[in-house]
């Protein structure tokens, strides 16, 4: 085992594999920075290039690219409030708020450090879990996966607002997200639901145009209203010192970083949930780490823990998602499904062979994730001053450039003008949600989880009738969901009685 581990490292360090990894990092770096152009799309675009490569070279290229996308996606999210990736939207809430306060360097430092820690934990989980993960994944059936989705939604809905009314708004936003997820052809009966008699909506609402509209347009409107740069008249301060402070923050809240990394890894392992869920669950957990309601009010206004949580989870999920992909050929996300295509193109079959005959190749993937993240984070720190200076660029120069990126990002997913209309509509919805003080995170999570949750609910009811509710893991997850909803109320009550 140890020999294969070392062999894996040597395989990646071979000049050809290393060069392909650097090329992958180069592509992933820019893809992450550009809003809308996702890691999964780029993986699909790059897949034809691996035909003539050796397995280690191909995975160094593909994984090198894919594992840095989330890291650089965080940069766009923090600096411009535009999600660089669908998986880096949660970091906007506090990361961009920090950038507006002149703390862009600190936010980036925290995001980069937590991303690196997350990636290392995800890679370690991949290395350690391969022999023992099979029984864990196999205990999760549709009922457990449905309840996991419910827990995720309860987490974010109950923690993203203050008091009972805040919770109602959280659940309203989450419910609206679930409702919007039903748009399109229903998977069970084939009924076209809420399609407004248009062919475009038969496929359902695409996540990227919704996300870009919901998060980017309100920020752009605010930038126009203020008429200043992103950081306003607040001086950026000493950026390197700020970044160092951010790195220290990640270690100051080390256990939060570790816990959020583990959340990301676990969501990554669980097939079908994906990275968009991991970031919000980690954000919800970070919010929960507030000791009292007063401290919780700081989330959304630039609390560094709101940056650390999603940053760590986003990168740790890659290692986690590789576990079921390699061990059973069950992809944990869209990107992993595309990567699975890469396995077959290279003549590799996921399963026992990857844990015996091709074990060095498997470990080379672990090393690729580690090395790619180390190189990217180092590169980001070198470029930090230039990147952070962008927050001081006057708003009237940034607005048209961001608008161009937003519209291109929205359009390129499906090459359809209707996607831009969706972006504009959800831009208006997002603006009014911000104006009304409603949280947007539950809406996104509802939209992401809706289809999965419906599918799992239907299979659970069809297979077990209502007896699925009595399965032990389901009952534990129900208790967790109830606790997540009740906990803030108990916390507020205890605080009141203490006062």
């Amino acid at each position: 085992m140890l020999e294969a581990f070392v062999d894996g490292l040597l395989l990646v360090l071979h000049w050809k594999a290393f060069a392909f990894m650097l090329a992958g990092i180069g592509v992933g770096f820019w893809v992450g920075l550009l809003p809308g152009l996702g890691g999964a799309t780029t993986l699909a675009l790059m897949l034809p290039f691996i035909y003539n490569m050796q397995p280690v070279e191909a995975f160094a290229f593909l994984l090198g690219m894919h594992s840095v996308v989330a890291t650089t996606g965080d940069i766009t999210s923090i600096l411009f409030g535009v999600p660089g990736e669908a998986t880096t939207a949660a970091i906007i809430l506090d990361g961009h708020a920090m950038a507006k306060k002149g703390e862009a360097g600190r936010a980036l430092g925290a995001a980069l450090a937590s991303s690196l820690i997350g990636a290392l934990i995800g890679a370690a989980a991949l290395a350690l879990a391969i022999p023992i993960v099979r029984p864990l994944v196999l205990t999760f059936g549709s009922p457990e996966l449905f309840m996991l989705a419910v827990v995720g939604l309860a987490f974010i809905a109950s923690l993203s607002g203050q008091g009972a009314r805040g919770m109602v708004r959280g659940f309203l936003a989450g419910g609206l997200g679930l409702f919007l997820a039903m748009v399109g052809q229903d998977p069970q009966a084939g009924v076209a639901r809420f399609t407004l008699d248009t062919l475009y909506l038969w496929q359902g609402l695409d996540l990227v145009p919704v996300l870009v509209g919901l998060f980017a347009l309100p920020e752009i409107i605010d930038l126009v209203v203020r008429g200043t740069s992103i950081a306003g008249n607040v001086p950026a301060g000493n950026i390197s010192k700020g970044a160092l402070e951010g790195v220290k923050d990640a270690f100051r809240h080390f256990w939060l970083t570790v816990r959020c990394s583990l959340i990301g890894t676990f969501i990554g392992i669980t097939p079908g949930l994906g990275g968009a869920v991991a970031q919000w669950m980690a954000y919800g957990h970070a919010t929960q780490s507030a000791r009292n309601t007063e401290e919780r009010k700081g989330f959304g206004e630039g609390d560094v823990r709101g940056v650390i949580g999603p940053g760590a989870a986003c990168n740790s999920k890659e290692g986690g998602a590789l576990i079921p992909t390699i061990a059973f050929g069950v992809p944990g996300s869209t990107s992993m499904a595309i990567l699975l295509g890469g396995f077959f193109l290279l003549g590799l079959v996921p399963g026992p062979d990857m844990l015996t005959k091709h074990l060095p190749v498997t470990f080379s993937m672990v090393w690729t994730i580690v090395l790619a993240n180390l190189i990217t984070v180092a590169l980001c720190f070198v470029l930090l001053n230039r990147l952070t200076a962008l927050t001081a660029v006057p708003g009237h120069l940034l607005v048209p450039v961001i608008l161009v990126l937003v519209f291109i990002g929205s359009y390129t997913g499906n090459n359809n003008y209707a996607d831009i209309v969706v972006t504009l509509v959800f831009g208006a919805v997002g603006y009014f949600m911000v104006l009304a003080g409603w949280p947007r995170a539950p809406l996104v999570l509802g939209l992401v989880l809706g289809k999965i949750a419906e599918n799992y609910l239907y299979i659970s009811v069809a297979r077990y009738d209502w007896a699925w509710l009595t399965r032990p893991v389901v009952m534990v997850l129900i208790l967790i969901a109830v606790a997540v909803v009740v906990y803030p109320a108990i916390q507020a009550w205890r605080q009141r009685s203490r006062a």
């Binding site: 820019w30 809430l93 961009h96 708020a97 507006k100 923690l159 993203s160 607002g161 203050q162 008091g163 009972a164 009314r165 805040g166 109602v168 659940f171 309203l172 419910g175 609206l176 409702f179 039903m182 009924v191 639901r193 809420f194 998060f215 347009l217 309100p218 752009i220 409107i221 605010d222 126009v224 209203v225 203020r226 008429g227 959304g300 006057p394 009237h396 120069l397 607005v399 048209p400 608008l403 161009v404 519209f407 291109i408 359009y411 390129t412 090459n415 003008y417 209309v421 504009l424 009014f432 949600m433 911000v434 104006l435 009304a436 003080g437 409603w438 949280p439 947007r440 949750a453 609910l457």
Partner: protein, 156 residues
Amino acid sequence: MPNRASLGLALLIMAVAGWGIYTALEWPLKAKLFPLVIGIPLFCLAAAEAIWAVFGNEAAGAAADFKLSEGQDQGVVPRRTLLAAGWAIGFFFAIVLLGFQVAVPLLVFAYIRLQGRESWLFTAVFTVAVWAIFYGLFDLLLHLPFPPGLLFGWLA
């Protein structure tokens, strides 16, 4: 203002959920199970929020989310908000009519000149730089398909 916006959103969700429930009633059980399970509580929660918005405290229940900048002159906020929305919608129509290739430099040029009041020279240089990056990255390098605008089709 937050309560008015909240009331508007709650009423909108009530209308959407009500329409969803009414429409779903005609579908087979397989298709209507989830819409009803979600739609009915959604309608009730939206009704509760609407009542809260009419009778409740304006500041209650603020979200852990991005907040619009405060301290702006309230006289200019609605005008600038509409202006920003106008630019975004105008850009969309320019894309549809002229295509990305023309709409991108047009937006950048018009925005910087009219909104930013930069000099002609700076505006021209900045526009060319943005267009070169757009063309080099998305067209030459990534080969993303950007169709020509509808206007060119009509004129041809």
